[in-house]
Symmetry: C2
Subunit: 560 residues, 2 copies
């Protein structure tokens, strides 16, 4: 699917970081004769965007470590014509030139010129969204996208003038900033418009993250918007929330999402997709086959729906850049694979990962979805250091096709997400997951891995062996049987489950006549395992019974 070329094609690349630099290096490897011009409007190419928060928090101590490949390095090793501080401002598709503004020391010294091309790859990324609010232009209200942004934020923190910060937006970048600011000893308030942190996750799966934030003394404000920013001169001094609360602050970080840099493309008449990114085909070609678009600015195919969607993540940007670079200089490449939004974030001692659809997003996309939730150890429970994870598996009713997964916990959550993302790449079902042959030794996993456990539970549901009650479903008008021991129940009573009957699972067979066989029954335990056993006993004794998914542990995360 690849073939080298010696055609002296002139390739112009717009944007010199994840997608653009990956395109450039691969293009060079595939074609020594190509002329490859890499435009980057800012000072730096090929830096580690994803590492920026960690240098602010000084977890990454060395700033230089963030420059993965300098302009000089790219020139030397790949003979790339790297032009930093040069912005491509328009594309003339008829003349086949791009117009470039070379930044001078002052804007009067800016120079504009035209650069001819045979092929263009657009990799301009995305820009942080800045809400149109009074005070938002204060010197200490900042976004984070590149090294300059990072330096600006870090300088403020380093100066010691920041004792309190407000982070707006509880997505990945917002949470990373919260964590890293806390590392620096800054008191942090986190504001999120949606009623949970990490709105991409199902509510209860985000709960352990919220708890980690609170444990680390972060002020978590969900379900409230940023109304205004009060300032004193050039500096913001407090923010006002939609619930009237006012939070004093010396630094505001806006992390409310990104907007694709699609203007260049749209002004050139290229097709823009439904989610605002540049439309592309399976070779990342735009509606003009000589112009490609990759990364955050583009709309690859989103696996779960099979339709184009922006998924602004580094992996897809790197991979699509690589393929587009190859295709642009040789005329062929492998086709791009679907993206699944596979992602992960560490928030203090809790990490969470996801891939594909959640129950909530399935609903938004109009996709029927079932789910199971299991709570299990990341390696053999008898081996020291076992950490607990909660794994939620979302799948298609009837077929069992895996639609997505979320996993929150400590060690090893990324492994389970990657395994499930791999299965999804192949259109695998929960039955496939149940049969996976995964590596097991006590320090690494369990003979029945959490992935297997979730898959077993889902298969049981598909086969009608077990029916799950959604963790947050109403338990009114059902007979609730809590099969935990008395002390367990006392410690963590089941939320919104008034009138539940307590029969430990081991006594259930002997105490069946304490229950009403004619009533729809829901069993619950701590996480679902004993519930499963109890449900099987009851079912075989003529009850119409459901097992509460994830037991009390997960249900109690659904409610405040």
């Amino acid at each position: 699917m690849s073939a080298e070329s010696n055609a002296p094609v002139r390739l112009v690349i717009v944007g010199g970081v994840a997608g653009g630099a990956s395109a450039a290096t691969r293009a060079r490897r595939m074609n020594e004769q190509a002329e490859i011009i890499l435009f980057e409007k800012d000072d730096d190419v090929s830096f580690a965007n994803c590492g920026l928060p960690y240098h602010i928090g000084e977890e990454i101590k060395d700033r230089d470590a963030l420059v993965v490949a300098s302009a000089d390095f790219l020139r030397r090793r790949f003979r790339l014509d790297v032009r930093t501080r040069e912005e491509v401002v328009s594309i003339d598709r008829e003349k086949r030139v791009v117009t470039v503004v070379r930044r001078g020391m002052t804007s009067e010294q800016d120079k504009t010129y035209e650069q001819p091309y045979d092929k263009v790859i657009l990799a301009p990324g995305a820009s942080p969204i800045v809400p149109d609010l009074p005070g938002v232009d204060s010197d200490n209200v900042l976004t984070l996208r590149n090294l300059v942004d990072m330096d600006r934020i870090k300088a403020r923190v380093d100066s010691g003038s920041v004792r309190r910060a407000v982070v707006v937006g509880a997505g990945y970048i917002g949470l990373e900033m919260v964590e890293q600011l806390r590392r620096r000893g800054v008191a942090v308030d986190l504001i999120e418009l949606r009623d949970q942190v990490l709105p991409l996750l199902d509510h209860e799966m985000a709960r352990p993250i919220e708890e980690a934030l609170r444990r680390n003394n972060v002020g978590v404000h969900t379900g409230v918007g940023l109304e205004s920013i009060q300032r004193d001169g050039e500096l913001a001094t407090s923010v006002r929330l939609s619930d009237g609360k006012e939070l004093p602050t010396e630094l505001v970080i806006l992390g409310i999402g990104v907007r694709p840099n699609a203007r260049l493309a749209s002004e050139a008449g290229l097709e823009i997709g439904g989610t605002g990114g540049i439309s592309i085909d399976e070779y990342s070609r735009t509606s003009d086959p000589d112009i490609y678009a990759v990364g955050d600015a583009s709309e690859p195919v989103y696996g779960p729906t099979g339709t184009p969607m922006r998924v602004p993540l580094a992996g897809p940007a790197n991979r699509s850049g690589r393929l587009a670079g190859e295709h642009a200089v040789t005329g062929m490449s492998a086709t791009a694979t679907s993206v699944w939004g596979t992602s992960v974030v560490r928030v203090f001692d809790v990490s969470v990962g996801m891939t594909g659809l959640t129950r909530a997003s399935a609903k938004r996309f109009g996709k029927e979805a079932d789910s199971v939730t299991v709570v299990a150890k990341h390696h053999a429970g008898y081996f020291p250091g076992a950490e607990t994870m909660t794994l939620k598996l979302v799948y298609e009713p009837n077929t069992g096709k895996v639609l997505g997964a979320q996993c929150v916990g400590g060690e090893g959550i990324d492994k389970r997400i990657d395994v499930i993302a791999t299965a999804m790449h192949f259109g695998g079902s929960v039955r496939d997951l149940a049969g996976l042959d995964l590596a097991y030794a006590p320090p690494f996993g369990s003979a029945k891995d959490p992935v297997h456990m979730a898959a077993f539970a889902a298969s049981n549901s598909l086969d009608g062996i077990e029916s799950f009650r959604d963790s947050d479903a109403s338990l009114e008008e059902v007979q609730i049987v809590d099969v935990r021991g008395a002390t367990e129940i006392e410690k963590a009573p089941l939320c919104k489950a008034s009138g539940s009957i307590h029969i430990p699972v081991d006594e259930l067979r002997d105490r069946l006549d304490e229950l009403d066989r004619t009533k729809p029954t829901v069993v619950s335990c701590a996480v679902g395992v004993r519930g499963h056993i109890a449900a099987r006993i009851l079912r075989q004794n003529g009850f119409e019974v459901q097992n509460l998914a994830g037991g009390a542990t997960v249900r109690n995360r659904c409610f405040d």
Copy 2:
């Protein structure tokens, strides 16, 4: 694919640990009416075999932690008729009874009786191989399979009488014992007949393990056999090796493999397979459809060859037990999936995992196989704590179908093996791996994961973009170009590569005339990345060139 049943079937299970106990619990969940009798010849059921070494080393402090489910627990929760200290000694398939010996306090008190059955599940596991050597029956020459074995070894170590031990066999269990004995301060010599530790791996992939052993002051003796054991009364005092060496010792652990417990089956006239295990079909039924066999004693289908093979690992035993238990009491279940020998072991600070075929085993099985090897970080290199792993990907020429992988390093090697094992489950190719959407954030991975890197390299090879020279191949009669910097080369000269020409990759384009374009050329760098760039430059300049797989790092592991 599952359906519960209320048939009062009488199920006899032989062996009460991984396969047997898993069968029993699932059988109960699927059928409350079944009579389920679990025979275990020893004292303990349902214990963690895989944890035994770690209790000897006191990494697992609490012995009770190793009992995953006691006999009492199984009786209480699952109404299983657990009969410990009862050995099934024969099966009369015509009468449909098994003969059982119930062990008394003394052998005179043993009682023999017949137990009728409708279905039998054989889960008798395997037994450690004990070589027929003089001295092998000494009191301090021991094997490790169950809690009694463990207690025996641990008591010796606890007594303080063991300052020096010899471990025979450098497979998983042998290596775990070595590590744990070192933890206890015991001096250890390790003996392995094959010329490498972990003979299941390709030679160079086992090297980092051997180095870890030496760093931890283990005497590693490969390519030598155990000739005899010298004793003084009941105790072995030294072992003699085939090379004449004599090693004094106070404890000998035999870890040279296991033999399937297939006698019961063979005596009952059931079919035995080519690797000595009991033959089974996709429902784990033996040649008698009322008798199932699972776990170490059986021969599931080995994925890479599609033929039956013993793979004595806990995951397959647990999963096949679960399915057989279900099938035996309901008449249906999902079919068993192939096993891939996916496995992992930690040896001090180095871990290694594998799945499917190695280059060596592919050869043994007569399967054509290519491979690539990459060396990469387990997470973003710029994030603190990145550990280096070596990943070798084995695949089918032409199709690119993944045949196997080996990964050695620190953190995260298990994740890559599980991802690749998952892809193999689906018959995936290296091109699939190249397109996987894996989770990335700096603490967890890289935008281009090691799995991607290996897949890119393999795809390049398939497409003829790059030709790899096997790491251990002869470099005679080729022009060798080492493209590393001078100090790097000085520190780690390329093994068996006399006359190599040194041109740093960044100077290559300008120094092409120092090379002979008519000579087959091999380039090498530290791990293969710069070699790849150099190979591409040379190729496009008319050279016939190969890139040395894994560069100097991997080549130098191939030779002593």
